[in-house]
Symmetry: C2
Subunit: 357 residues, 2 copies
């Protein structure tokens, strides 16, 4: 698989500006062979930055866009001002036109999702896209979705998330049959939201080629890595993600404080510096940077708004790997298989409650 | 406030058995003056254990109960077999009869909540009780509720949680006007669940004597301690709590692994041992042990099922402090004031959506 991957970059998105985006884009070139970039944004700014980055310039085309979506724009504002002509829109549109393999932006998440839905449309049979995040665990890495594309999900949507998350785990971690769990507030089958219980029953009863249903999991299973893919609706998924980030920052702050308090502690810190560096690397959120929008006719990667060059490069590399491993095709195939298995029909006919959280 | 506090203990609850419960009960005697215990459970077992604990025996009465609720009982089973006669029921009933100031159990949470609701009933004007947890933060300690009493909450219930959590912060942390935030997936007023936005609007518009509304908070504000009280419905609250616990365990595991990997790291660890001990103490979940059921006609403290003696003693002490500081009275007063302020009427009359998450 040495084919080139063309990446459409929204150069104007993110808190840190085009220089960091382009720095990250160039950094990724050292770690992945065959990247080509289509850069969308203010051509004068981009071309001036590219003069200092001949290596990046050599693999990039520049597409001037007059409008940049602001980090503070509401999705409706962004659509109104930025449709057709903003760097964000045009980077997405490049995927739609087949001119790029995926889009990446560090811009405003709500605007990016609104534009991606409008421009790319959801896959046939998918009602709602999800944002999937990578989650570092004691066993390695898991995928968690949805972490905030929308609030609430019915059983059908949760099952779609399970299938799409499974396809992402196959593409990204090279696991043939990932385990998938449903996030709940107890592992017993009688507990939790009606929608989650219905989805669990159906996943349990439906044999699948490409994933193994692992039952309900709880919040503490996320860090444990009990399953490869954790499925939940966007409200609780977003809260879980940010709670974990906050807890990691909190413990890091405690550790810094304790390690600088006494002379012995400072000496101990110096002796064990390699160990602390290795810990820091394990906790580095930049490596898992890049939420992926799943369920659209095209892959869109959302980098953290405040990602630095290293973080943005990681998001580029994650997107590259997923595209090279055929993520979109895997999603389509798996959805076709599972929708064909008829469990969505069962949901429609069955007594599954209301839909929506 | 040197009055005695009588604590009704369900000696048969918990994973570790009566010896640990009684060990914890005795340990609390050293740190709080004026504790008296009413011990409910198998009298033969309790009396035999008390023979080795004369100090505990001196402040305790023993109440024989033939039935113990199992950790695996469903709430309905527990009610069927254990009503009127289990140690759990009778410990709750002691509060109802005015024979004890609060109940503590390390037993099955679902059964304890079902029995507490059935026996004590909810406070007038409260539709649903909540479980409030203490949450260690970078600023000290916060309160988070609901962490799993039920799933979903409408705007009225969220406001009740805000008022009750505020009263708990006043009783436990001695803060005259605690700040209260609503957990959401963005801090902008237009974001999140309809119920959360409605509750936010009403809290913002209603001036209150005993609490300050701090707006929406996100998952990473929990560890930061942005507000004294974080309000959410039970599904996301439970997931946030367990996610934070899991993340803390994950990072501790990383740290142990790194600190034992090389000779330098092991030496560094030894030199900085005091710092690591202090970190361990900060992360010790036993200190914040004790979920409190709020919204009932009486205080029930739920210790973790697997609490050791130190953990159980902490839960006893937290309950003791809240009772001595008049938690129940503060809740009643605050609810009366806020229900009097008419915002529940506004909710009933206003266009507030559906109720229930």
């Amino acid at each position: 698989m040495a084919e080139a991957v063309t990446i459409a970059v929204d150069v104007m998105g993110g808190d840190r500006g085009p220089a960091v985006i382009l720095g990250g884009a160039e950094a990724a070139l050292s770690r992945r062979a065959g990247i080509r970039y289509a850069l969308f944004g203010d051509a004068a700014v981009i071309e001036s930055l590219l003069r200092e980055r001949p290596r990046l310039a050599a693999v990039s085309t520049v597409h001037h866009c007059e409008v940049a979506v602001a980090m503070t724009d509401k999705p409706s504002q962004a659509l109104r001002h930025g449709r057709w002509r903003s760097s964000m829109w045009r980077a997405i549109e490049a995927v739609k036109k087949g001119e790029a393999d995926f889009t990446i932006s560090a811009g405003n998440t709500g605007a990016l999702m609104a534009m991606a839905r409008f421009c790319l449309r959801t896959l046939a049979d998918i009602e709602r896209p999800a944002i999937a995040a990578q989650w570092p665990t004691l066993r390695g890495m898991s995928i968690v979705l949805d972490v905030g594309a929308s609030i609430g999900a019915d059983a059908r949507q949760l099952i779609d998330f399970a299938v799409m998350g499974g396809a992402m785990a196959r593409a990204l971690f090279n696991i043939p049959r990932p385990t998938v769990g449903l996030l709940n507030i107890g592992v017993e089958e009688v507990k939790g939201l009606e929608e989650v219980r219905t989805a669990g029953r159906i996943l349990k009863e439906t044999p699948m080629h490409n994933l193994v249903y692992g039952g309900f999991v709880e919040g503490d299973d996320l860090g444990r890595g009990t399953v490869d893919v954790v499925v939940t609706e966007g409200f609780s998924g977003n809260i879980a993600l940010k709670t974990a980030e906050g807890t990691a920052r909190q413990i890091s702050a405690y550790l810094r404080e304790e390690m600088s308090r006494t002379l012995f502690a400072r000496l101990g810190y110096l002796l064990a510096k390699d160990a602390f560096d290795s810990l820091r690397e394990k906790l580095d959120p930049r490596k898992a940077n890049g939420g992926v929008f799943l369920g659209l006719n095209g892959i869109v990667v959302k980098s953290h708004g405040d990602a630095d060059e290293f973080g943005f490069a990681s998001a580029v590399e994650n997107g590259f790997d997923m595209v090279q491993n055929g993520l979109q095709q895997k999603i389509s195939n798996d959805l076709a298989e599972y929708h064909g298995a008829g469990f969505h029909q069962e949901i429609r006919e069955g007594a599954t409650g209301t839909g929506g959280l």
